[in-house]
Subunit: 259 residues, 2 copies
């Protein structure tokens, strides 16, 4: 079935969701954003109306997707009332229960991916996790998720929060470590691309064996001569030196090696 | 040209190198390993003789590749003498100069990849970095590298050591962080595979924009509410809690956010 949807938010998640929901045949009737300019831009792209005022949000849509930053969800919990409407937020960490102030027919619609506005995504392969206690909310959110993704799955609140935490490690922290590697290479005027074959192999191996089995390197061997040499090379980057030491010790702990 | 090569070592690097060098037409005349069983196994695979005694290493080969652990290289510097022969080690971090005790025609032959014995690799796409001051060593090592890889490149000692350090971040540390993510998911009985679309996207983005541009997540937004919640979830993993905090602070530092 095709639904009338209001998108609340105009950031990366809101934008990718709005475009893919529209492409799947749903009607985006309105885009809300506190940043009027962003609301207009996204609304134009998906053929919707826009508003930057919470009290102007249409009350006649079928589904309201709150794709705003976690800390902004509270504003809507305080001031938005849509009884009888399906309302869901898209956050990995915010609890579901607060949404009951907006509508009893509430849930979570959590697309599990890192979104950047400029980079298109294949939504079909992005897992969407649905959490809802209300049966109607669960049915409609699942249906909408399945209209844009092949990987739709029900999840509990604690699973969702654990998943979000694991994603901070698997995406945010690995990405930051790639940034560190790039910064270190710059010192010697070497291009980041030099690491691509190594990075691709690191990830390919994850499909074949556990990261625990794949681990190599000085910390895995408790090779303190090399570790000390690396710490010396990192003198110019005190942040990175600390990260190097703590991650090396954590690797040694994992294999019960002497630190 | 095809060379007679002695492989010193029987670990992951020695094994992959020996097999690919033989496949490229070189003759592996001997495999040395302190672990006699390993020397025999690898020697059989590549049609070579074997020894577990340094004084039994043939003196009539063209090239000697020291593919042993960093700390073991010193043993050979002390006891192996092969004047007039080309000798190279395969280490990212050990300096070249010590090898001059073995032969003046020395260099470094550094295949830039993470090797696991059980997993085959496509050597053609593995960068091999050559460092040599001696012209003959440079020529022969480059020729041998080009016989197995399309990506052969000359490098200075400080570049090689920086490259090795950056690889510890890009491979060892990201791999350990994937292990942490897997451990966290296990707590909620969720499979590691759930992270694969996210991990693939994290790496795909590296080809399109810098990791600095790609960064998202609570630390990037200095979202302490979520960070504190995650630290609370990590109470059962003190190691991981410390890593979470230090990496989050380092991300905030990168963007000059308030910690």
């Amino acid at each position: 079935m095709q639904y009338k949807i209001v998108i609340i938010g105009s950031g990366n998640v809101a934008t990718h969701l709005a475009k893919h929901l529209q492409a799947a045949g749903h009607q985006i009737v309105q885009v809300y954003s506190k940043q009027k300019k962003n609301a207009i831009l996204l609304a134009q792209e998906v053929g919707a109306l826009y508003t930057d005022k919470i009290h102007e949000i249409f009350t006649e849509a079928d589904l309201y997707l709150l794709a705003v930053r976690d800390y902004a969800i509270d504003d809507f919990i305080l001031s938005l009332r849509l009884p009888e409407k399906v309302v869901a937020h898209t956050s990995g960490s915010v609890s579901l229960s607060g949404l009951e102030n907006i509508s009893k027919i509430c849930g979570v619609f959590y697309p599990f991916q890192t979104f950047t506005n400029a980079i298109p995504v294949d939504f079909k392969t992005i897992p969407i996790f649905i959490q809802a206690e209300n049966a109607t909310a669960k049915r409609i959110l699942t249906e909408v998720a399945q209209s844009i993704s092949k990987l739709c799955q029900e999840i509990s609140e604690s699973q969702r929060q654990t998943l979000h935490l694991s994603a901070v490690f698997a995406n945010n922290f690995t990405n930051h470590i790639f940034h560190i590697a790039q910064t270190i290479l710059k010192k010697e005027k070497m291009p980041f691309e030099i690491l691509f074959p190594l990075i691709k192999e690191t990830v390919s191996k994850l499909m074949l064996q556990t990261p625990f089995e794949s681990q190599t390197g000085p910390a895995r061997r408790a090779d303190w001569k090399t570790i000390d040499e690396h710490l010396r090379q990192l003198e110019a980057f005190p942040d990175y030196k600390e990260i190097y030491l703590i991650l090396s010790e954590s690797i040694m702990n994992s294999y019960h090696l002497e630190k």
